[in-house]
């Protein structure tokens, strides 16, 4: 069962990258805001159907939920908007890796302080090294991408 779940999640990661690529090419013709808008609209339509058939929670509890929990939607908007913008400028892989680094850094910080009722996992030596490796990875992506662009120009 576990293996199937891991494969399933792997597909989740694959779809996230495919989404970046697809939104990037759509936005070149339609614009950043327009692409993000369309993504949210089609996503809501699909989820409306899924909830009708499989929803077990209570969507109306939204009116009793604390405001700080509801404010996460602005973060969701920022993620997609910035993602679409970045893909058209620096490409899929550079965007993906940079997003992942931002994600991991904040996860480590959230764990360290135990924000949002999460487990407190302190920032130990191992995690400091992880942050260091990510920083070096970001540097190489930046450099590698610059080289690819230069080579592409020379071929033309």
């Amino acid at each position: 069962m576990g293996i199937i779940m891991i494969l399933f999640t792997l597909i989740g990661g694959i779809t996230l990258s495919a989404q970046s690529a697809i939104n990037g090419s759509f936005s070149r013709r339609a614009g950043t805001i327009e692409t993000t808008f369309l993504t949210f609209i089609t996503g809501s339509m699909l989820l409306a159907l899924i909830i009708l058939f499989f929803g077990q929670g209570n969507i109306f509890a939204i009116f009793d939920a604390p405001l700080w929990q509801l404010s996460a939607v602005f973060l969701g908007v920022i993620f997609l908007l910035f993602n679409v913008f970045a893909v058209t400028k620096i490409g899929v892989i550079a965007t993906s890796i940079t997003v992942i680094i931002g994600q991991l850094v904040i996860s480590v910080v959230i764990d360290h302080f135990g924000w949002f009722n999460s487990l407190i996992i302190p920032l130990d030596t191992k995690r400091w090294f992880a942050l260091l490796f990510m920083l070096i990875a970001l540097y190489f992506i930046f450099k590698g991408n610059k080289r690819s662009v230069v080579e592409a120009k020379q071929q033309k």
């Binding site: 694959i14 808008f37 892989i93 931002g102 994600q103 191992k126 992880a130």
Partner: protein
């Protein structure tokens, strides 16, 4: 200009982590699928307003565009659902590793072959090295 795009991508990742942590709490209140539904619906409203006031592009291109290029929203839902379903079975740590691995490998392949309308960018030494470094970082974090 390219430098700004990196900062934006970094901010996007940070937003994604905060979002995940906060939505985890909301999910306990109203249900997981309902939480993603809330995210997409209210997100569409915010973007609708942004589009009305600041949209300079061409939304009607959606009608003419090749159909595969409209699948961004559907893929976003697949991603969210995959995560929501798998975390109770294998835990957050392994889930994140699997997602990130899928992301890294897929984005390399997509760009290398120029799939899905991306500019064809060959994989080079630096990129492979960056992915290896990311894998080491992932093992260290968990």
């Amino acid at each position: 200009m390219r430098f700004i795009a990196y900062i934006f991508a970094l901010l996007a990742g940070m937003a994604l982590s905060f979002e995940g942590a906060i939505y985890g709490e909301l999910g306990k209140n109203i249900g997981k699928l309902e939480t993603s539904f809330y995210n997409f619906i209210v997100g569409a409203i915010i973007l609708g307003l942004l589009w009305l006031f600041f949209g300079k592009g061409n939304l009607s291109y959606a009608v003419k565009a090749p159909k595969w290029s409209l699948l961004g929203g559907v893929l976003g839902v697949v991603y969210l659902t995959a995560i929501v379903i798998s975390i109770p079975f294998v835990g957050v740590g392994i889930t994140m590793v699997a997602v990130i691995l899928g992301q890294l490998i897929m984005s390399m392949v997509i760009e290398h072959f120029g799939w899905l309308g991306t500019n064809k960018v060959k994989i080079n030494r630096e990129k492979v090295l960056a992915v290896i470094l990311m894998m080491i970082a992932l093992i260290l974090v968990n």
